[in-house]
Amino acid sequence: MFITKYIKDVYKGVRSLLVGMKRTLYYFTHHKEIITQQYPDNRDTLVLPERFKGEVVMPHNENNEHRCTGCQACELACPNGTIKVIFKNELTPEGKKKKAIDKLVYHLELCTMCNLCVEACPSDAIKMAQTFEHSVFDRNELTKILNNPGSKIMEGVE
């Protein structure tokens, strides 16, 4: 029936508009919901969300060991060539040649913080840090080497 559909349409429309207005009135009256941070003022007490993506870092343990096997998954996953893996050959105690990373070069100036490298990594070697104040005077400082000098791969990570 045309007229019942018409009335139903009006009812549904008004109802959905009122639902939206109720929500915005709630936000209008509840100022504790405000999510804006007064950044330079609260720099010392700033709390960032857990999933905030600032830059890619490689965590090291206390023995200066990382988890990177040099599998290049991150390099392949990166859409704009931000990560370059440079290898070196290491000799194991048995005299075998083993491939290991020499440098994991990270170009912060190219990075869009898309998180694809972190998702691609099979051994959880890299993660996103929460630092975000990246301004420098020399752009060369933005090319970073993620593994610490003299670091080696953690035992048991293949």
């Binding site: 939206g20 207005m21 929500r23 936000y27 209008f28 100022h31 405000i34």
Partner: protein
């Protein structure tokens, strides 16, 4: 007791004693003009900061909070910025129409101030067709928008102006029909008569559900007529950069901006006058004690309270609803609002004839 009408009468007496009648009239006209311009400036400042704060809180933001206490002087700083900016006229534009359009918008807004009753017995011009005057003059607004859009020689401006034309022409109908509902009930087009007829209760309460429907239709129609979201197709900053005022800068832009806010104030004042009793305090039937307490609140406070409440409602609409497409906009008017308000007007007329209201 202190009141606006008291001040106005004292001033009139003093002027009459000091000058001859012609001089008195001229001085009073100048004073009224200055008062209206002063009110415009104040409204512009207050409404801009109000809108920015309301939008911020609705969108879970803080809003302006740097200039002055709690950011309350932000709009003053913005005005200062607009005043010192260059008012550019594009090379390809029609110079005369381009520069005339903002002033037409302002003059329309000023003309609309005339029949509004700001407080008890405080009104610039209580003409006997006040409501008709308002709905007639407010339609001239579209001419300034079309003028600005055409003279800018810019496709965005022209499209915005054409949309605005289609919108105002169609929404004028349902605004007019819902105004007619009140006129039918009151039996008069005079603003002061309409207000006095609400002494024992506002029309929105006295007129039962049909009056509530008329009120809702009126609010929707005036939101569309003032070109505000969700009906801001004339500006539509995501599609047309800024619509009809794309090419305007500096004070000419500010005049359009100010005219928009003043228009919002005026239509809300009209809505408050017609449906919420204007400066009339909140009275319930025969509760003499309650009514007496309500009378202690000054009439100007009642008027501005109601008007600002309606302005808040319109801002609330703006920051809640997404923008309509042009076909949805015209559908809403011609398929829903117009038939509903026509049937509603029929019911209201029957109610008025049969006396089914308080």
């Amino acid at each position: 007791m202190w009141s606006f009408s008291h001040i106005a009468n004292n001033l009139h007496e003093w002027l009459s004693k000091t000058f001859n009648p012609t001089m008195t009239l001229i001085i009073e006209m100048v004073l009224a003009g200055v008062a209206v311009i002063g009110l415009f400036a104040a409204l512009g400042l207050v409404l801009v900061i109000m809108e920015r704060k309301v939008s911020a809180w609705i969108q879970i933001r803080l809003g302006p909070n740097r200039v002055g206490p709690k950011g309350m002087l932000q709009s003053l700083a913005d005005t200062l910025k607009l005043l010192v900016k260059e008012g550019l006229t594009p090379n390809g534009a029609d110079k005369l129409l381009f520069n005339l359009a903002p002033f037409v918008a302002m003059i329309v807004a000023m003309l609309l101030m005339a029949p509004i009753a700001f407080a008890k017995d405080f009104q610039l011009w209580d003409l006997n067709i006040g409501v008709l005057y308002v709905s007639a003059v407010s339609s001239i607004m579209v001419i300034s928008i079309l003028m600005a859009g055409w003279a800018s020689n810019n496709k965005y401006s022209l499209m915005g102006a054409m949309r605005s034309g289609a919108q105002i022409v169609s929404y004028e109908l349902s605004a007019g029909l819902s105004i007619l509902a009140v006129v039918v009930m009151t039996g008069s087009l005079q603003v002061s008569d309409i207000i006095h007829s609400q002494a024992n209760g506002w029309w929105i309460f006295k007129g039962h559900i049909p009056m509530v429907i008329a009120f809702v239709t009126f609010i929707i129609a005036i939101t569309a007529e003032t070109n505000r979201a969700p009906f801001d197709l004339a500006e539509a900053e995501s599609e047309l950069t800024a619509g009809f005022h794309t090419e305007y800068s500096g004070m000419k832009f500010a005049l359009f901006f100010l005219a928009e806010y003043v228009n919002v104030f005026i239509v809300c004042a009209i809505g408050a006058t017609l449906f919420l009793g204007g400066w009339m305090p909140f009275h319930i039937g025969n509760w003499t004690g309650f009514n007496h307490v309500m009378d202690y609140i000054p009439s100007s406070v009642w008027f501005f309270g109601k008007t600002f409440f309606l302005i808040f409602v319109i801002m609330w609409f703006r920051w809640t609803f997404p923008r309509l497409r042009i076909d949805q906009l015209l559908n809403l008017e011609w398929k829903y609002l117009l038939p509903i308000s026509m049937i509603n007007l029929l019911i209201v007329t029957a109610m008025a004839i049969l006396g089914w209201h308080f």
